[in-house]
């Protein structure tokens, strides 16, 4: 960080000022002229929080995608279908057993198993044929989308939140001052979103630790760099491949449950989340977990702030971020050239 500051004094100053302004926007009570200019602070804080928590959801979907891509160079365009399937499984498990928490392992296991089948049946047969793999996964996603429409219909499914997580939570962020008494008003935010965001941060940190501090992680990273050399040293590379694919697919399934709790599960969500994870990994850099986190946060925030402050062009804002990244850093913000 100090080296960066020494090399780019101007950029450091700009970043520091931006961070300071952001912190002031978050913690101070907004003066009247600011409210008049860009609206009430509550709206701003809600957009910020929604953006961050949506970023957490995007991270869950995109990290599996980027992990699979980084290790095996497989573009799994059926990733959105795995997400949607996870959501449906989560809904029915939660409905039948009555335990919301049970939905997560169930979705993870079923979707991970499906991932193993995909890896063995499709990807191992077509190793090294990128384009063909991509086309096959597009075909799978078309078929899967229609099968799921057949099985579950076109309705919206919403996974109910358990009672101990439902309801708003008082946070320590000030949104304004009461006119009558002068008391501070604090932001209320749905507890379940905060918990889920914390969990996705936990999963992200866990994944980072697993990749960078354990033997399995070492195998995976070596596979990313040179899989042929790794298999020559006697590591069972195919087992690693299957494992990573299962884990990435399972994460998509878990994300489906999260998405079903946050928002809802319906046909078409598969494409929406596939696109979101595509844009996230293009922005963040293919195959990089920290990149996926950064990209997910940026896209989530852009989407939420866009939908609050210029609703017509929210999607275009996301797209502009992608274009800017492609134009100036084609390998992605955290990608390796």
């Amino acid at each position: 960080m100090r080296a960066f500051a020494a090399r780019h004094p101007w950029w450091t100053a700009v970043i520091a000022i931006a961070a300071a302004v952001l912190l002031m926007l978050i913690f101070l009570v907004w003066p009247q002229w600011l409210v008049a200019g860009i609206g009430r602070k509550k709206v701003f804080l809600n957009a910020l929080f929604n953006g961050i928590t949506l970023g957490g959801l995007y991270f869950l979907v995109a990290s599996g995608f980027t992990l699979i891509f980084g290790l095996m160079r497989n573009v799994n365009l059926a990733h959105g279908s795995l997400y949607l399937l996870g959501g449906y499984i989560g809904f029915f498990v939660a409905e039948w057993t009555g335990f919301w928490l049970l939905a997560f392992p169930a979705a993870f296991l079923v979707v991970a198993l499906l991932g193993v089948v995909l890896q063995v049946v499709v990807f191992q047969r077509m190793e090294g044929q990128d384009l063909r793999q991509t086309l096959v996964t597009i075909g799978i996603s078309i078929v899967a989308a229609d099968l799921m429409l057949w099985a579950f219909g076109g309705d919206f499914y919403n996974i109910g939140t358990p009672s101990w997580l439902s309801g708003p939570m008082e946070t320590f962020f000030v949104t304004g001052v009461k006119r009558s008494s002068g008391d501070l008003i604090f932001l209320k935010y749905p507890l379940v979103r905060i918990v889920i965001f914390a969990a996705s941060v936990g999963i992200g940190v866990g994944m980072w630790l697993l990749l960078n501090r354990t033997r399995i992680g070492m195998l995976v990273r070596a596979g990313v760099d040179d899989s042929a050399m790794l298999s020559a040293t006697g590591a069972r590379i195919n087992l690693v491949f299957v494992g990573v694919f299962a884990f990435g697919a399972g994460l998509a399934g878990v994300a489906g449950v999260v998405g079903g709790t946050f928002q809802s599960i319906a046909p078409g969500e598969d494409i929406r989340f596939l696109l979101a994870s595509l844009i996230v990994v293009i922005v963040g850099g293919m195959g990089s977990i920290p990149g996926a986190a950064l990209g997910a946060l940026m896209i989530g925030l852009a989407e939420q702030f866009g939908s609050v402050y210029f609703p017509t062009y929210a999607v275009v804002l996301t797209f502009l971020i992608m274009v800017a990244v492609l134009a100036f850093r084609p390998q992605g913000l955290m990608g390796r050239a």
């Binding site: 384009l131 086309l135 078309i142 057949w150 696109l275 293009i282 062009y313 999607v315 797209f319």
Partner: protein, 355 residues
Amino acid sequence: MAVFETRWQPARPAGGWREWVEKIPIGYWAVGIILLIMPAGASDFVLFQIFGWTFILGMIALSLMLLGGYGGMVSLAQMSVAGVAGYMVAILGDSAITDISQGWPWFVAIPLALVIAVLFATVTGWLAVRTEGIYTIMITLAIAAAFFYFCRQNYTVFNGFSGFNGVLPPKLFGVDWRGPKAFYYLTLFWAAVSYFAVVYLSRAPFGLALQGVRDNPRRMAALGYDVTAHRVAAYAFAAIPAGIGGILLTWQSAQISPGTVGIGPAIDVLVIAVIGGMRRPVGAFIGAFIYVLFKTFALDVLVALGLSGERFQLLIGLGFLLIVFFSPDGLLGLWDRWQTSLRRDPLTGGERGAP
């Protein structure tokens, strides 16, 4: 040697056109004549719905074939390019949405629409060629999605969710070009022009250089070719058949809306190109014909089999999956393999007729 022979060839003998007729394989003549005399016997539905639509989708898939087959860049944004042209005809020309449509005459609106489509494709290409292979698919998919959402949410120019209706072709030469026979010949004409333009391009220096770039970009760069410029130019050129297809598509249904340029149609174009085969331009039209037949008659077949007619997508998806799984070159690839197996000598395993 070859250069000298062609250069010193004597002038054509008097009966030159006869030689020219014989040089073209009989299959071409048969298909050409059948297509030309088809309106004499076929019903209006077949002409307008099946063949008109086949030629239109074929043109859009042809633009993808040009990029994917000769350039090695599979772009999912070709439907968006077609959509830009269709939208521009509706916006600059006439439609039922009179407070947006400018009502300019067709000889201004149509060329301008094509120019805008080419510009859009050039920008798309300029973005997409920064990446290679599978990345291109992802980026063009993202562009197609962004265009779809933009059209759906922009009301001032693109009229949002409902789009434009009442977009009709100009009554040129006093002909109603939406009449089944006239529309059939209109689409056939433009499909043929696009087809021969792409065939010509594939043999012209630019097309050969493009195929060189596809096979080995580094070597082409070392030979002094500008790889990026060739790729972007391919996007720009491919926009022309796609744009014409988009305009005709708009005229055929007399409307254009975000649903026309959605992610589903974008993937359908890829499905069409892959089913037909991306090796030769004719694959795009074969794929389009099969797709249209499927889309038109799958309902009846499914109902006859006792299944619900809504499972059309499943049928298309399974067919696509089978083809990419077993024959990545599509039906043309199957045909080629069958041809070589016919020519193979069962005893020696070599090609028959080969020394």
